[in-house]
Symmetry: C2
Subunit: 238 residues, 2 copies
């Protein structure tokens, strides 16, 4: 399983993903699920992936191949972020169909989805959730975050604190607490985590960090949040 | 959809269910999902239901019929709570099979599950989650709560605060906050709520309450919890 979340804030974008991949619960590995593409000042794109590792790796590999061939249209040359989402959707759908075709009655296990977030110079920061069939939805001011994978455990905190006006600092905190709730409740979502921040209007990755299991800051936050929740619980009257 | 939760504490049992039933999102009704059976001092049983209304209503109706016929074995005459769970499972599986048979390729929509909780004089308080196939699992000291229906949004708070030593008062609070998170994140879970408390060793329903949408105590708790979460969020440092 997987948990990835992206926040589309006025101040920029916050992206967070776990790294646990499992083929059965007895076969657990660590794979990066966050892919960053950057031409600093010109364009920055982040892709987060959930679902079949076979489908997501092949999709990312094809998108990278297109970038490397200067003659090809690619996500780094597409004129708008909408067309970037369209392009990712087209490749993802093709790959999913192709792999599904090989899997017979296990075709559903080839499904994968992606969060595509980015900004090009002169354009707005935009964020899309791309489905296995290639269609997509976009984050808006009403719903300024998108989630893929095991999204339910981490949604209540986002519903409560995230608005477009949330700062990038608070956005990182909200994303990490949302991840913390998910890690606690679903073993198939696991550390380390990949965190990235893209400040609006800069077209570059402002901050990028891998958070390991033994990360003291993250552990302290997790402990403080548990304590704060328990304290809040004690104070509530019914 | 539905959310029902049962807590098995040293001090007794707390049971909470919503009442929203929908056949499509444009056909929403209120149905009780909590059924209490009581011979005060002798035996008390609570059944919470999730899934196909057709399957759960028929199952409950059959269990009630058996109680009314003094010659039949029934959940009120079964010698142990384990046999009560077995009996509920047998009827639920029969009903689910029968309704599935009428539904053709929609057979899966006949699925339903139940929480069966209770105590008989001389026995321990026990709580079971009964699956559509009739098999079941039991709450233990390691995992002193069971959930059916839309369980994910409300699980993090339970994971954090509920232990066997939790008091009945705190147990009610935890169940209500767990429901509150679910109500916020999933529209198909809805008020009013049914709350019941069974004090250990009394074999009777100690407290029973329907909580309406306009209930001021529940609303105040919900507001206070949101505020407490936001305050805790502000205080956390990363």
């Amino acid at each position: 399983m997987t948990y990835c979340v992206g926040l589309l804030l006025d101040a920029g974008m916050v992206l967070l993903s776990d790294t646990r991949t499992n083929a059965g619960i007895d076969n657990i590995s660590t794979y990066r699920k966050m892919f960053l593409f950057e031409e600093p000042g010109e364009r920055v794109i982040a892709i987060l992936t959930a679902g079949s590792l076979s489908s997501t790796q092949t999709t990312i590999a094809r998108l990278e191949e297109d970038i490397e061939h200067p003659d090809s249209e690619s996500i780094m040359s597409a004129p708008t972020m909408l067309q970037v989402a369209e392009m990712v959707g087209t490749v993802l759908a093709e790959v999913t169909r192709s792999i599904s075709g090989k899997l017979g009655d296990k075709a559903a296990s080839a499904r994968a989805s992606m969060i595509v977030a980015g900004q090009r110079q002169g354009g707005a920061a935009r964020m899309f959730l791309v489905y296995p069939e290639g269609n997509y939805i976009e984050a808006t001011r009403d719903t300024p975050f998108l989630q893929i994978g095991e999204h339910k455990y981490g949604k209540p905190i986002l519903d409560r604190v995230v608005t477009p006006e949330t700062s990038l600092g608070d956005g990182q905190k909200a994303a990490l607490l949302s991840m913390d709730s998910t890690l606690r409740s679903n073993l198939s979502v696991g550390m380390p985590l990949d965190l990235a921040v893209i400040e609006a209007g800069t077209q570059r990755v402002s901050r990028q960090r891998r958070i390991e299991a033994e990360d003291e800051v993250f552990q302290a936050m997790s402990v403080a949040w548990s304590k704060a929740l328990r304290d809040a619980f004690v104070e509530i009257e019914i």
